[in-house]
């Protein structure tokens, strides 16, 4: 990336259909601002997030990946987010172990009513990633050229 061009981090947010996806909607209707470079991907439940999806997002140019799901105890399918919690904890730990900046990954529980929390979370995460700089350690060079 040329130096004179300001770094605009690409954020991929995987959002559960039953909570944070609606939370994102709500933050929109309430005209709360969060950066446009947050790309939201709707998933049916936070536990649908295959670790492969996280890695794919980084491969395809994400600088940060965040998973938003229902608060523990509130899963539409009763227990999905508990499994997601364990999986993401382990995945993030493994990524950290491989030397990939742990700040690039995050899980937040955001309900459908928490439009403000959604916007705040995204703003905060974007700032974190902005401070970290572009993803270099988990990039696919073939996708970066030209």
């Amino acid at each position: 990336m040329p130096v004179n061009q300001e770094f605009k981090p690409t954020i991929v947010a995987f959002c559960c259909n039953w909570c944070s996806y609606a939370g994102a909607d709500l933050s929109g209707t309430n005209r709360l601002q969060y950066p446009a470079n947050v790309k939201i991907i709707r998933i049916p439940c936070s536990c649908r997030l295959n670790p492969m999806f996280v890695l794919r997002a980084f491969q395809r140019g994400a600088d940060g990946v965040i998973l938003c799901g229902c608060h523990p105890g509130d899963c539409h399918y009763t227990t999905g987010n508990y499994y997601a919690r364990r999986r993401m904890t382990l995945l993030f730990s493994l990524l950290d172990y491989l030397g990939i900046e742990k700040e690039r990954t995050r899980v937040e529980w955001v309900s459908a009513a928490e439009g403000a929390k959604f916007a705040a979370t995204m703003n905060d995460f974007c700032q974190t990633i902005y401070n970290l700089g572009p993803n270099r350690r988990l990039e696919d060079l073939r996708c970066k050229s030209e």
Binding site: R142, S145, E146
Partner: protein, 333 residues
């Protein structure tokens, strides 16, 4: 024959690396590997590199072309360029023979230009063996490890490195080096090669009987039974040359690349309607039939193996071409 003092080997490397990239077998991350030489880089103590020298001509992955797709239109980008001249130092006789085996596949018309490009720009400096491994059996395949061939042959004897050009390319290379003393190499002790445990493996039998005799041998079932279907043997083999062609969509264009493939893999011959080699037995058989029968049938009886012994050391379950050759011979009696 020219003489270079071994204690000044780094100077030789510096001179060779002066105008081109020089690859030497060096230890990288605990593995002997052909590596671009940098000042101070030492040769490995290992007899041979972990992977074979074919990597330098036929890398595991290489881009073939790119395609830009706009709507229904396709634009082909041919990004081939002449590679720069390079020298490989320290190729053993087995790997040097493997180049000629690969040549017969890749340079046969229509020649593979990616491979040819690298072959054309490479000068191969071989190094004679004096301390073979017990897994070496190049002599059983008619290779003389003490006359390793290539563009320049080298020998280590006492405190000297002896160099002899075998081709015009080799002569041109030596001419560019600082002036060297001329002399004759003293006769080394070659008796260790007579003690090699696998020196008598018989590869001549395979030309004596028909293809179907070997193909239908009852021993394949048993030999292949514990095969894991991984590709270690294929990927460390200096003569395995099968490849796959794949596309990768980068988001802006499609890159077509080729990568090593292994006939041991279940998807090797998989088509939409199925595969003609459905079990590991057929895949296993294909690999060894190719080396022992098919390749020789198509190339004047030359066996598609150079006896480097890498598969003997690397197979997770220690099944290898020596065991196969012996079992086939015994199974046919």
């Amino acid at each position: 024959m020219k003489i270079w003092k071994l204690d000044r080997l780094q100077d030789l490397f510096a001179a060779l690396a002066g105008e081109r990239t020089l690859y030497i077998p060096a230890d990288v991350a605990g593995q002997a590997k052909f590596t671009p030489w940098e000042p101070g880089m030492e040769m490995t103590k290992a007899l041979n590199t972990n992977r074979s020298a074919k990597d330098l001509f036929f890398p595991q992955v290489e881009d073939l072309a790119a395609f830009k797709i706009t709507g229904r239109q396709i634009q082909v980008e041919d990004n081939r360029e002449d590679v720069e001249d390079f020298v490989i130092f320290g190729v053993r006789a087995c790997d040097a023979r493997s180049f000629s085996i690969l040549d017969k596949v890749f340079l046969e018309e229509p020649a593979d230009t990616y491979y040819k490009n690298r072959r054309d720009h490479a000068t191969v400096m071989t190094l004679a063996c004096s301390r073979p491994e017990a897994t070496c059996f190049c002599t059983a395949l008619g290779i003389d490890p003490q006359a390793p061939g290539g563009d320049v042959s080298c020998w280590v004897e006492g405190e000297n490195l002896y160099l002899q050009a075998n081709t015009q390319k080799g002569e041109a290379l030596l001419e560019k080096l600082p002036a060297m003393e001329e002399g004759e190499k003293p006769q080394g002790d070659a008796s260790v090669f007579d003690r090699l445990p696998l020196k008598d493996v018989d590869f001549s039998v395979f030309s004596e009987k028909a293809l179907l005799h070997w193909f239908n041998s009852p021993v394949w079932e048993e030999l292949s039974r514990s095969c894991l279907g991984c590709g270690s043997c294929t990927f460390v083999c200096p003569t395995c040359q099968c490849y796959d062609v794949k596309d990768f969509d980068t988001g802006t264009k499609v890159k077509r690349f080729r990568c090593w493939d292994s006939c041991m893999y279940s998807d090797f011959t998989m088509m939409a309607h199925g595969t003609n080699r459905p079990t590991q037995k057929e895949r296993f058989r294909q690999r060894f039939m190719h080396k022992l029968v098919y390749y020789p049938n198509n190339h004047d009886g030359e066996i598609g193996c150079v006896g480097c012994g890498r598969c003997l050391r690397k197979c997770p379950i220690s099944m290898n071409i020596v065991k196969v050759a012996k079992a086939l011979k015994e199974g046919s009696v």
